[in-house]
C-alpha cells in the first residue's frame, strides 16, 4: 500500500469508516492470526479478535506510517497474548491423560506433512513444533510482520544482538529438524 494511500485509509478508519477498517483488516488479519497461531494455537483467534478491539479503541491516537502501524499491531497482539496466558495460568486446570492426546492428532501434524505441498497452516505448525517460543517469536515477527531487527527487539524487549542470535539459532534448528524429517521421509518412501 502506498504511503499516501495508507494515510488516507488510516484517517478514514480513525473516523470509523468501515471500508477503511476492512482494508486494514484484510491487510493485517492473516499475518496477525498466523503469528498468534505460531505461538499459541489454542487462544490465537480470541487473542486476535481482542487485538483488533484494543487497536480500535486507540486508533484515534495512532500516528505513523504503514510500517509503524504493522509494528504497533503486532505489539498489541503480543501483549494481549501474554495477558491471556497469565489469565489462563491463574485458572485451575484439569490434567488430561497423555494417552488421550495421541488419539487426537492434528490434521496439520508436521510429522505427516509433505514439505513439497506445504501451506501456511503446516508451516505455522512446523515453526511451533520445532522451535522454542523465543526463537519462534522472533522468526514469526520478522517473516509475518515484515519487521526489522530493531523493531523486533523493541517488541520483545531484547537487544538487537540477542534478536539476531535467536533468529540465527532458530533458522539453524529448523534446518536441522527439517533435514531430519526429509531423511525419514526418504527412508519411508522408496
Amino acid at each position: 500500500m502506498a504511503t499516501t494511500e495508507f494515510g488516507r485509509v488510516l484517517a478514514a478508519a480513525q473516523d470509523g469508516a468501515h471500508w477503511a477498517i476492512a482494508v486494514l483488516w484484510r491487510e493485517l488479519h492473516p499475518s496477525l492470526l498466523r503469528f498468534l497461531r505460531g505461538l499459541d494455537h489454542a487462544v490465537a483467534e480470541d487473542v486476535e479478535a481482542d487485538t483488533w478491539l484494543v487497536a480500535a479503541r486507540d486508533l484515534g491516537s495512532f500516528r505513523g506510517d504503514e510500517h509503524q502501524f504493522r509494528a504497533w499491531m503486532f505489539t498489541i497482539a503480543r501483549n494481549r497474548l501474554i495477558d491471556t496466558r497469565r489469565r489462563e495460568a491463574r485458572r485451575p486446570s484439569v490434567a488430561m491423560p497423555t494417552d488421550a492426546l495421541g488419539e487426537h492428532a492434528a490434521d496439520d501434524d508436521p510429522a505427516v506433512t509433505v514439505i513439497d505441498v506445504l501451506n501456511a497452516n503446516a508451516a505455522i505448525a512446523l515453526v511451533r513444533e520445532y522451535l522454542p517460543p523465543d526463537q519462534a517469536e522472533v522468526i514469526l515477527l520478522r517473516v509475518l510482520g515484515g519487521l526489522d531487527v530493531e523493531e523486533v527487539s523493541a517488541i520483545v524487549g531484547k537487544r538487537p544482538g540477542n534478536v539476531r542470535v535467536l533468529q540465527h539459532r532458530g533458522l539453524r534448528r529448523m534446518a536441522e529438524r527439517l533435514s531430519l524429517g526429509s531423511s525419514e521421509r526418504r527412508a519411508v518412501t522408496p
Binding site: 469508516a17 483488516w25 479503541r57 501456511a120 508451516a123 517473516v143 540465527h168 529448523m174 534446518a175
Partner: protein, 245 residues
C-alpha cells in the same frame, strides 16, 4: 575437532552467515537461492508469507462491524467529557455547601459568644442585642456590660458620690446615725481635704457607712473597707481613694 557423523567433508552442513539468514527471513532469497541445508527452511518461510486463503478472510463482515463499533465509541470523547465534568461539579457541590455551612456556623457561634460577653464594638453590640433580643436572647447593649466592668463606679472620695444610683443604701445609712454617738471634731476630720468627706460626720458615721457598703456594693465596700473609718485619718482616706481609682 571431531567431524560430524555423516559429514565426511568435515564442514558444517548447516553453517549460516548473517547475510544469508537476513535474506531468508526477509524473503530476498527464494528456495533456489538458499544454501543446500536451508532449502526446506526457505520453503517453510515462503509458505508463511503466502497470500491468505479464503477461509482466513471469511469472518471479515462481522469483524469489521465489531471493530467499527469500537472505533465509533472512541470517537465520542467530547460529550463524554462534558458529562464527566458535570458529574464532577455535581459531586463537588455538596462539599462546597458543607464547607460554607461550617464557616457560617462558626461565624455565628463566635459572634454570638462575643455578643453574649458584651465584647463586641458598641455598634455591633447594639445590633447583636437588637437581633438576639427579637428571638428571646438577651445580651447587653453597647452602653452597658464591659464598659461598667472596665470603669466601675468608684465610691472614691474624689468623685461626687452618685449615691442615688449606685448606692441606694448610702443616704439611708447616714440618717440613722445616732446622735452623739461620736463627738465630731470638725477641725481634725474635715480640714485635710476631699478624703475626709465621708468622715465629716465623725467616726461613728464613717464606720456605719462602711458597714452599709459592705453589704450593698462591692466596689464601694472595698473602698470603705480599706479605709479606717474609726480613726477618720485624712491621710488614710486619701490613700484609699487613690487606690480604688
Amino acid at each position: 575437532m571431531t567431524p560430524r557423523v555423516g559429514n565426511p567433508s568435515g564442514m558444517d552442513p548447516f553453517a549460516l552467515d548473517a547475510g544469508t539468514a537476513e535474506r531468508l527471513v526477509t524473503g530476498a532469497a527464494d528456495v533456489g537461492d538458499a544454501p543446500p541445508g536451508y532449502q526446506d527452511v526457505a520453503r517453510t518461510l515462503e509458505a508463511l508469507r503466502t497470500v491468505p486463503e479464503s477461509w482466513e478472510l471469511a469472518d471479515e463482515p462481522a469483524a469489521v462491524a465489531r471493530i467499527g463499533a469500537a472505533v465509533v465509541v472512541r470517537q465520542r470523547p467530547r460529550p463524554m467529557r462534558r458529562v464527566r465534568r458535570a458529574r464532577r461539579s455535581a459531586r463537588r457541590a455538596p462539599r462546597a455547601a458543607v464547607a460554607a455551612a461550617v464557616v457560617v456556623a462558626s461565624a455565628v457561634f463566635v459572634t454570638g459568644g462575643f455578643a453574649s460577653a458584651g465584647s463586641l464594638p458598641a455598634p455591633a453590640q447594639d445590633a447583636a442585642s437588637a437581633v438576639l433580643g427579637k428571638v428571646g436572647i438577651s445580651v447587653p447593649t453597647g452602653n452597658d456590660g464591659p464598659a461598667n466592668v472596665e470603669n466601675p463606679p468608684a465610691a472614691t472620695d474624689n468623685a461626687p458620690a452618685p449615691s442615688g444610683a449606685s448606692d441606694p443604701a448610702g443616704p439611708a445609712s447616714v440618717s440613722p446615725a445616732p446622735p452623739g454617738a461620736a463627738s465630731p471634731t470638725p477641725g481634725v476630720d474635715a480640714a485635710p481635704g476631699e478624703g475626709g468627706k465621708t468622715d465629716t460626720r465623725g467616726n461613728g458615721q464613717g464606720e456605719l457607712h462602711g458597714k452599709q457598703h459592705r453589704g450593698t456594693s462591692g466596689a464601694n465596700a472595698n473602698g470603705q473597707d480599706n479605709g479606717n473609718p474609726s480613726t477618720g485619718s485624712p491621710s488614710q482616706g486619701q490613700g484609699n481613694g487613690n487606690n480604688d481609682r
